[in-house]
Each structure stands twice: as C-alpha cells, then as structure tokens.
Amino acid sequence: MGRSRNMDSLVRGATFAAALGLFILLILLPLVSLNQYAVREGFGVFWDRLRNPDAVGALRLTALVALATTAVNGVIGTAMAFLLTRYRFPGRKAVNALVDIPLAIPTVVTGFALLLMYGPLGPLGRFLGDHDIQVMFSFPGLLLGHVFVTFPFMVRAVGAVLESVPRSGEEAARTLGAKEWQVFAFVTLPAIREGIVAGAFLTFSRSLGEFGASIMVSGNLVGRTQTGPLYIFSRFNTGDVEGASAIAILLALASFLILLGLQLVQSSGGRKAEVA
C-alpha cells in the first residue's frame, strides 16, 4: 500500500514535470527568444521601433479592428448561442457543426472567399460597386474577415454558460409579471455575463494576431490598411528583425494581459457565485 502511494506520487510528479517541461520548451522558450531579439540592439532601438509612425498606425488599426470585431461578434455570437441552446429546429446539429468551421479553414482561404464575394465577380460585389461602396481593401473588409475567423469563440463561450444556467430564474421572473425584454436584461444577461466576458476576451485576442485573412482583404497599405501582424511580416522581410520583434512583443504582451485578465475575472466571478 505504501509502495503504491509512492508510485502514485512518483507518477504524478513525473507527469507534472513532463507537462511543465514541454510547456516551457514548446511555448515559453519561443516567446523568450523573441524578447532577446527585440532588445538585442538595446532598449533605445526597441523604443524607437515602437514609436515609428507606421508601427503606431498598424497597432492602432489592429486595436480598432479587434474592438469592432468583438462588438459585432458579441451581439451575433450571443444570439447564435441562444438559438443553438434554447431552440430545437430542423438542421440544428448541422448549424452547430458549421459554427466551428472558421477554425478549420485556412485563413487565407477565408480571405480569398471574401474577395470573390465582395469583388466584381460576385453579384453582391457588383451591386456594391455600382453604388461606389468599396468593402475590400478597407476597414469594412478587415472587419468582415476578422468576424468570420473569430466567430466560434463567442458562440462557444456563451453557449457553455447558457447550458449550465438553470431556467428557473427566468420562469420565476415571468411568473412575477416581467416582460420578455426585462427577463432578458435583468435575469438572463447577468447570468451569462461570465460567458460573454470570456468570449469577448478570446475574440479580441484572436483578432489581434489575425494574419492570413487580413493579408488578402486588407490591401496591406502601409499606414492605412496594414494591421500589426502584417506590419511585423513586412518588417521581418525587409530584414528589420528588431522592428518585427518589438511589435510582436507588444502584441504578445497585450494578448497575455487580456487572457490573464480573463482568468482573474472568471475566478472572482466563481467566488461570488459560491458566496451567493
């Protein structure tokens, strides 16, 4: 008995060490090497690269697109999550499976599909073109690409919470005479808040790093339609590895803080729920 407990702790220890070791090797070390490159020429150069107007423009655009994407998917994704968890309709399973498709499609293909749809070859694109509305190679094009690529995050995060929230609260509110919008705003929404926050954080982070669809639909114009990741790629290709690393570090750090924030929000939410 004592021996098997020893074995157990040995196995546990080994698993722990292996998981941590692999995590360090596969995930942490690449990030550390990025750091080394970014400050290789000193902090002055690092700071200088960050202050470059093209870099600032790219980061600003990235933040704006990520915010807009989060807002759009916050609404559409939540609605979709409701549809999938609260209603039974023919084809529900198929729709449910389709929601995750953006994760499986190479993002470059997503970009090309959007070009075909909104370009002069598609009927919608022709209609927009006739009315002088340019969707691709501009902010709306980027937004469409990012909304597509990040779509599953909101639906899944909200869906998971919706599944676990008992409907008794909503029914009680209805019994007490609340109107449907009141039930939604004062009962359902607070109950799924955690899911919405989680989905928003994930969507935002994913949007910050989006590359494949962006390079197809943005037009990649320096200082105008070039996002952070595209700027990094072009810096790397011109041989400015310090510049590429500096911006990359900033984006990685932003994602890290966002995800860390998500953990904090979730754990405090969890504690509150326990107290209640």
């Binding site: 075909l116 370009g119 070859l121 114009l221 072009s234 290709n237």
Partner: protein, 327 residues
C-alpha cells in the same frame, strides 16, 4: 570473433554505399523561377554532372520571395547557392560573412536572367492603359506587391519612378518628374499583397485594372490561358536575378558541384529553359532565338541609371515611395 565478422559485413555494405552517396547541394531561388528550375534546369544539371563526372548529385531547391530566402539563409538554412532578385540581399549576406567571394565576378556581374517590368490589363484593355502615365489617370485601379516583401515590387516602383525621371537630373524631391509620376500612380494603388503571385490572385478575383509586374510573370499567366493583355511601356526598367555562392555553407566535397552548378546556369541549355518560362536570357544569342516572345522596349533603363541598387533603394523606395504612402 562473431562480433568482428558482423562488423566486417556491415563495413562491406556501408563503405561502398557511403562512397556512392550523391553529393547534396541546396539551392534557394526567387519564387518566380520555380517552374523553370524544377521542371528543366535541375534535372538537366543532374544528367550533365553524371555524364561528365560520373557522379550523382542531389540538388534540392526551395522557392520563396527573395527577402524571405535571404532571411532564411541569415537564419542558418544550409544553402550553398542563391539566385535572388535584389543585389541588396546579396550585399547583406556578404556583410554578415555568409558570402566571402565576389559574386560580381561571375559573368554579367552575377546576373543569370533578365526581364522587364510591364503591366497586365484586363481582356481588350478596356481602359486603354499603355504607359505608366496612363496608370496615374484618376479612376484607374492599380495593383503591385509590397516592396517590403517582394523584390519584384521594388523593381516595379523603380520602373514607375524611372519612367517619369530625367536621368541626368535626379533630385528625388517633389519637383522630380519621377517622384511626381510615382505619387500619382501610388494614389491609384488599391492593394499591395505579399508577392507577385498573390497580386494575381486578387486580380483574378476581379480587383484592379492593371498589375505592375515582371514580364515573365505576365507571360506565365497568359500561358495558363488567362485572357489578360500585356502592356509594355515605352520606357521601363530591365530587371536581373543574380546568383551567388554562400561560401560559409560550402563543404569541401560540395565545392566542385557548386561551381559547376553556377556555371551551368549560364549554359545555352539552361538559358533556353529560362526563356521557355518567359525570362529574357542574358546570353544574347539565345535571346535572338526567342525574339518573337518579347516585346521591344523603346527606352529601356537599368537600376544603374537610378544610381545603383543602394542609392535607388534609399532614394526611391525608402524616401519617395514611403512619402506616397502617407494619407
């Protein structure tokens, strides 16, 4: 005793095998040369080397934008020979100690193939675009790749600038004819994808009236059956791809294959292969054989007319072009 026997048997099998092992050499070549290189030149070189020296060689090649390839070599890719679209990349490799020899000492200062910058328009050229000045007309939508990632795009920008410039008086200021033309054309540029190939993807999807690109790329698209038109501007730039040995990566046993391979690229056979895929050969005799394939440029110029690669990159791209990108 038994162990010794096993060792002997192993040695018997391994030794001759090691001896006959083909010599491996890696070639990095600019993405647009992929078809010509893999379909014709490398198989021909293998055959040539086997027949002449009785040994098998294994040349593997990798293709990407020249900037990407240069970064891979800087990052330690085991490459012995590189064919790149910009001298600047070779200079950078030399600065970092990867190239020790003088690649300008190869024939034609290292240039193995040439082309010119042209533009591609839609079927029947509905907007009547024939010169770079036409691309500056309001309402014209132009595509070229990003000069940050594509060597071809750098040539394209040189071509537009040079078409408007007076080579005897290059000031690169706002009154410079080249800068004026470049700014006017850049106002019409709707997208700058990563590479020349990607530009065609967007053009195929219906975007843009014209792509500024290499003649060989344009010929390749036509060969694929696309009904695009090639417009050869009256005044445009001649482009070159240059070859260099990456000395730092060459082991003694690879030495002979590397120098043979570089010489082979200049042979009539290899030059014809390049020509079949739309490049202009540097060997003028071979060039004559393919004369009908290429349009004549009335006023061709070279990067030397813009002050050489270093100056052209600094003045035309980092200075003049960069300014046109501000809103």
């Amino acid at each position: 005793m038994k162990r010794l026997f096993v060792l002997l048997v192993v040695a018997l099998f391994v030794a001759p095998h090691a001896y006959a092992e083909p010599i491996k050499v890696n070639l990095h070549s600019c993405c647009v040369t992929e078809d010509a290189t893999t379909k014709e030149i490398l198989p021909a070189f293998r055959k040539y080397y086997k027949e002449k020296f009785g040994k098998d060689v294994d040349v593997s090649a990798s293709f990407a934008g020249s900037g990407t390839l240069k970064n891979q070599i800087l990052g330690g890719a085991p490459v012995q020979v590189a064919v790149l679209s910009s001298e600047l990349y070779l200079d950078q490799l030399k600065e970092k100690g990867l190239i020790a020899s003088d690649w300008r000492k190869n024939p034609n200062k290292g240039a193995v193939i040439k082309s010119v910058i042209v533009f591609v328009t839609r079927k029947d050229n509905p907007k009547g675009l024939n010169t770079f000045e036409d691309l500056a007309k309001p309402g014209t939508k132009v595509l070229h790749a990003s000069p940050d990632t594509s060597g071809g795009a750098q040539w394209a920008i040189f071509a537009i600038y040079g078409a408007g410039a007076n080579f005897k008086n290059l000031s690169f200021g706002p009154e410079d004819g080249g800068v004026k033309l470049l700014s006017a054309v850049e106002k019409n540029v709707i997208a700058q994808p990563e590479s020349a190939r990607q530009t065609f993807v967007q053009f195929d999807a219906g975007f843009g009236d014209a792509i500024v690109t290499y003649e060989n790329e344009a010929l390749l698209e036509k060969a694929k059956g696309r009904e695009y038109m090639i417009a050869v501007p009256r005044k445009t730039i001649e482009t070159e791809w240059k070859v260099a040995r990456i000395d730092k990566n060459i082991k003694p046993e690879q030495e002979h294959v590397v120098s043979e391979l570089i010489q082979f690229l200049y042979t009539a056979g290899a030059q014809r292969s390049y020509a079949r895929f739309g490049f202009r050969p540097v060997d003028s005799k071979i060039g004559k054989e393919f004369q009908g394939k290429y349009a004549t440029v009335a006023e061709p110029f070279t990067v030397d007319d813009l002050g050489g690669w270093q100056n052209a990159r600094k003045n035309v791209i980092e200075n003049a072009w960069k300014k046109t990108q501000q809103k």
